[in-house]
Subunit: 326 residues, 2 copies
Amino acid sequence: MLEHGGRLRLAAQRYGIPLADWVDLSTGINPQAWPVPPLAPEVWQRLPETDDGLEAAAAAYYGSTQLLPVAGSQAAIQALPACFAPGRVITLAPTYAEHPHAWRGHALTALPGAEIDAAVGNADTLLLVQPNNPDGQRFSREQLLAWHADLAARGGRLIVDEAFLDAEPMASLVPLAGQPGLVVLRSVGKFFGLAGARVGFVFAEAALLEKLADRLGPWAVSGPARAVTAAALADTAWQAAARAQLAANSQRLAALLDQHGLGGGAGTALFQWRPRPDAARIHSQLAQQGILTRLFETPPGLRFGLPGNETEWARLAAALTRLRIL
Amino acid sequence: MLEHGGRLRLAAQRYGIPLADWVDLSTGINPQAWPVPPLAPEVWQRLPETDDGLEAAAAAYYGSTQLLPVAGSQAAIQALPACFAPGRVITLAPTYAEHPHAWRGHALTALPGAEIDAAVGNADTLLLVQPNNPDGQRFSREQLLAWHADLAARGGRLIVDEAFLDAEPMASLVPLAGQPGLVVLRSVGKFFGLAGARVGFVFAEAALLEKLADRLGPWAVSGPARAVTAAALADTAWQAAARAQLAANSQRLAALLDQHGLGGGAGTALFQWRPRPDAARIHSQLAQQGILTRLFETPPGLRFGLPGNETEWARLAAALTRLRIL
């Protein structure tokens, strides 16, 4: 299993700064989460059933009924590779590490975005995160559909992880779900800030959804998480406000980084990415000031999540002011 | 996937009785669940980490640190068969149907309890539910340890699902976890009445726990469920009271059934089992009166869960009085 979490605890030890004193920008999770209301006791007590409104709320929010709720998109990431015969798989490099890790039983090639088009013709599976984590890379809808057509015509598939797409007015491929060879993953962890709930959705053709459901078994998503997610997906007023706020905050973050010598990257509504050869040194300088960013080594870069309040914005601005960029 | 749930809805349709008017005795879940307190918002927002006290609370409650939390023991039931090379597997007949269903890629034999001892010598895996669901069948600790020794000596394994064991003063095998070839499953769904939380535990040797963790992936149990389970496992006062109450209620249920011509079965603290050739007819007579029991066909029998309050006890008693047993 890949190492996750505990980064804040490790940083607290390493830099001698108490846990409570950190500004944690190491995730891409909305720091202003959908507010969870008190829940009916029954959601804890009864086995979760599929008549509780979750599937309907998800179909309305995402725009397709070809869906399976899963315990976080991670559950689908784990289960998908075994649903297909071993084959040639292309992922983007860099991308969310759990994807290539899950497909290690297949013949895996990790390529920069510019090299994908030439390689798709020899692949069975193309797996993309759109927009990509950590670098915010995007492909046009036309490009994705062309790759899908090529793969599907040969019995292959395009898998698109849209975990970071909710917060932007980008075109999702979910409404096309049901077409052979198209799989789309969604998550309520990032945009809704409900990473602890462990709820995601797979959109795909019915036969694949059945195969996945059989692998994952009954009651894969907890009752409380189903109830909370159904309510969050139906809260269109909160969604509209959150989209506007995240877009503004992401622009504010980009401007702040640019202003302090950390320009030249890309991002999504939920994070900014700054590829830099000196990423490790800057990560360390920020950590010495209690600002935790996410350091990537190949290629070297820093991912900055959004500060959650004005105190955190001020802490970040002050720390950036003290950076020594060589 | 096996069909679960929806039984109450189907019964409501079939018998023309509104959902709210049923006494649902079709599960083996404690009707007086551990009371879930309000939760900190962070458990919904942050990715669950393993420093939140769940593992420690589970080790103290169950008596072993050789554990992996899973999203309900069902998650382990799904994942275990692929952790071993295909082999000869024995289950009890009858038993919880998800077990044999999960092992269908192996050479599976379902045997009555009396035939197991003679067959263990030719098996790689012996899989038992202790006490057994639905019939309450039990094996002595000495018997289980002898079978385990036999299997483990040949590189095989004994898997014991103790989902219904918490409520009784039976000897769990959990304290022996870590021994090669021993796997014990536990669940907080039944005794704690937290079936919606989807939390269970696997107790086994470290290498198997690692393999399972790798298959199930990170963040398998939701943050809110981890918090609730940690608190329930630490609430020894509630546990003691619940054990006494469940034992009393199970005896009361057995006596009530005996008194109305439904004697001669067995049970656990959470349900009573009545094997009867006329099970389907009695199930139907009770359903016509809004009492839902769980009907099993092979062998024919009825499983009665515990009524949750005096109104439900009175409804059950009245319905039993009106039974026409031929």
